[in-house]
């Protein structure tokens, strides 16, 4: 008798209100009390069952009757579809979508737990095929392998292309992939939902010099040029803090690429190392105005 069958029996007994306990479980299945106790622990800690012991009834019960046992047998396609949904919902901020991301991650055993209290759920359409395509593209991006795709564009025209998937991002409930498209010989953004097929090839790709991941900020603005700042620090800095492209120059002078002055200035303050902005002049003005505002509010 498998552990799964016992768990289903325990679940059934609890739902019938018969308050099973370890003695009854061990007697019914002819297993040790210790094994029965392990089954209860497995339900409580691994499956997240809200199971508690009632001294009055001398047996176990659910504190939340809406709990259902996870369905254990996921096909590969189903798992891919759930992983895809977990990734999508996880990228939606400001809503209970995070709860769904958690749920899908738990079911697929991908631990990406995030807590969120409010439950407003946007609807994301996903078929098993989408999950499978997502898995192919994710694997291709991770292993730098080219993918052959069939794509339907906005004008409903079908094309077959070889793409090099780089990064994914979500916007307005739609998942996009930024990639190099061999057909167009350039960087392109594709909507995932318009992929009809995706097949991994054995051919490796190199990231195109056209694409600069440092400039990617989760939008379509990958072709935008960054601002460049020359900043002198009192001592060497931890370049990781900035998460921007940084070029170290002599005398603790750094050239930093950035897209938003507000974020750069916050990072400069966070670094907690005295600094002087050499250029651009507009950034110096912004810093001055920001400090003046802080002083105004506090002095």
């Amino acid at each position: 008798m498998s552990n799964l069958h016992r768990i289903m029996w325990i679940d059934d007994r609890i739902r019938c209100g018969t308050y099973p306990n370890c003695t009854r479980i061990s007697a019914w299945f002819e297993i040790s009390r210790r094994q029965a106790s392990r089954d209860i622990e497995y339900m409580k800690y691994s499956l997240g069952a809200p199971i508690e012991y009632s001294h009055v009834k001398n047996g176990y019960y659910y504190t939340d009757e809406t709990f259902i046992l996870p369905y254990h047998y996921l096909t590969k396609d189903e798992k891919n579809a759930l992983s895809y949904l977990a990734a999508r919902y996880n990228n939606i901020t400001g809503s209970g979508a995070k709860q769904l991301a958690n749920l899908f991650s738990r079911i697929t055993r991908e631990d990406k737990s995030i807590s969120h209290n409010k439950l407003n759920i946007p609807l994301i359409h996903c078929g098993l095929k989408t999950g499978s395509i997502h898995e192919t593209l994710t694997a291709a991006s991770k292993n730098k392998l080219k993918v052959k795709i069939e794509y339907i564009n906005a004008s409903n025209k079908k094309s077959t292309r070889i793409i090099h998937p780089y990064v994914f991002f979500d916007k307005n409930h739609t998942r996009y992939v930024i990639c190099f498209c061999e057909l167009r010989s350039g960087i392109r953004v594709f909507r995932m939902e318009r992929f009809k097929n995706a097949r991994l090839t054995n051919e490796a790709f190199e990231i195109s010099p056209e694409f600069d991941a440092g400039y990617y900020d989760g939008t379509f603005n990958y072709s935008m040029k960054p601002y460049k700042a020359l900043i002198e620090f009192e001592k060497p800095i931890d370049e990781e803090i900035f998460k921007y492209y940084i070029r170290k120059m002599p005398d603790n002078l750094y050239e930093i690429d950035f897209f938003k002055s507000g974020i750069l200035l916050s990072k400069l303050f966070d670094a907690n190392i005295p600094f002087r902005i050499q250029s651009p002049s507009w950034l110096k003005d912004k810093l001055k105005r920001r400090i003046e505002k802080i002083l105004e509010k506090n002095m």
Binding site: G94, R184, N221, S223, M224, Y227, S261, R289
Partner: protein, 319 residues
């Protein structure tokens, strides 16, 4: 290294960022003085009503910019030059048109005329360029949603999520008879109302736009952010039409009786106000919304279609 900034350039208070930007430029250049609703009405842009079939927020800006923006300015006697190009990676000369744009915008600033541009910040709205600095390679900009926006790099002119290089330079002004402006703007309003097709295949204009709006709501197939955004924009526009019709009614000796149209737009404006209240702007796109609210908006939109149909009939008869 040259630089110049035109001070005190402010965007007009309207949800239609193009006309807000135009107002800012014209006021700064001494070519316009007056209320925003009057400019919205006289140019005719208040009558724009465009809806995407899934209520995409782009709805309000999907029309022929070059031709319509030129004509709107011409209607009120403003001579302008507009330039538009799409930044398609397959184009070989886009960089040249961008460089030409930088040159022409700087010339306009040197002539104390700010310039209207598409998306000078990451926000997909029209805005104003009010200065430049060659040393930093930047344009100073005025944005409709940020008091102190980051500047626009010369090299990023025309690059945005919707990568149009659009700028409009305002050159001069000529006097136009008020009656001609009134008639021209109202005729344009009627054309927009009866427009069989808008620019894109998924967009409808005028009375057909109501059909798209109502269908999207009934089928629950809409972009919630788009809905909240277009309701705010069109709430503002309908209110501008109401005020403008009152103004025309008082000022015009040639246009016939508009009292009934004013009464109808008064009702329409109230209904739009209610619709905009039900889905306030900045409702996050991933929020859900009560079915009851959507039902109420659908009913109000259907009522507005009927009222606006009648109002347009009255306007048509008055011309």
């Amino acid at each position: 290294m040259a630089s110049k900034t035109i001070d005190n350039v402010k965007i007009g208070m309207t949800w239609t960022s193009y006309m807000g930007s135009v107002q800012g430029v014209l006021e700064s250049s001494g070519m316009w003085k007056g209320e925003t609703w009057k400019l919205m009405g006289m140019t005719g842009i208040a009558f724009h009503f465009i809806v995407h079939k899934q209520i995409c927020p782009s709805s309000v800006t999907v029309y022929e910019w070059l031709q319509k923006h030129y004509t709107m300015m011409d209607r009120i006697g403003i001579f302008s030059e507009a330039y538009q190009n799409y930044n398609d990676p397959k184009f070989n000369t886009f960089e040249m048109s961008r460089a030409e744009g930088v040159k022409r915008i700087k010339e306009s600033i040197d002539n104390d005329r700010p310039v209207v541009v598409w998306a000078p910040t990451e926000v997909l709205e029209f805005g104003i360029i009010k200065g430049y600095n060659d040393e930093d390679g930047i344009f100073q900009v005025v944005s409709c949603n940020d008091e102190s926006p980051d500047p626009l790099l010369y090299s990023n002119l025309g690059k945005s999520e919707i990568p149009f290089l659009f700028y409009q330079i305002f050159k001069d002004k000529t006097g136009v008879d008020k009656e001609k402006i009134f008639r021209g703007s109202l005729e344009y309003g009627l054309e927009e109302w009866r427009e069989p097709n808008s620019t894109g295949p998924d967009y409808a204009s005028g009375r057909n736009a109501y059909e798209y709006l109502v269908n999207a709501l009934k089928n629950k197939d809409y972009d919630l952010f788009g809905l909240s955004y277009i309701l705010s924009v069109y709430n503002d526009s309908k209110n501008c039409i109401l005020q403008y019709l009152g103004y025309v009614s008082n000022e015009s000796a040639e246009i016939g009786n508009l009292d009934e149209a004013i009464a109808l737009y008064s009702q329409i404006s109230k209904k739009y106000n209610r619709m905009a209240e039900l889905v306030p702007f900045k409702t996050p796109a991933d929020e859900s919304i009560d079915d009851e609210k959507i039902y109420e908006i659908t009913s109000l939109a259907q009522e507005c279609l009927s009222l606006e149909d009648k109002a347009m009939d009255v306007i048509s008869k008055s011309l």
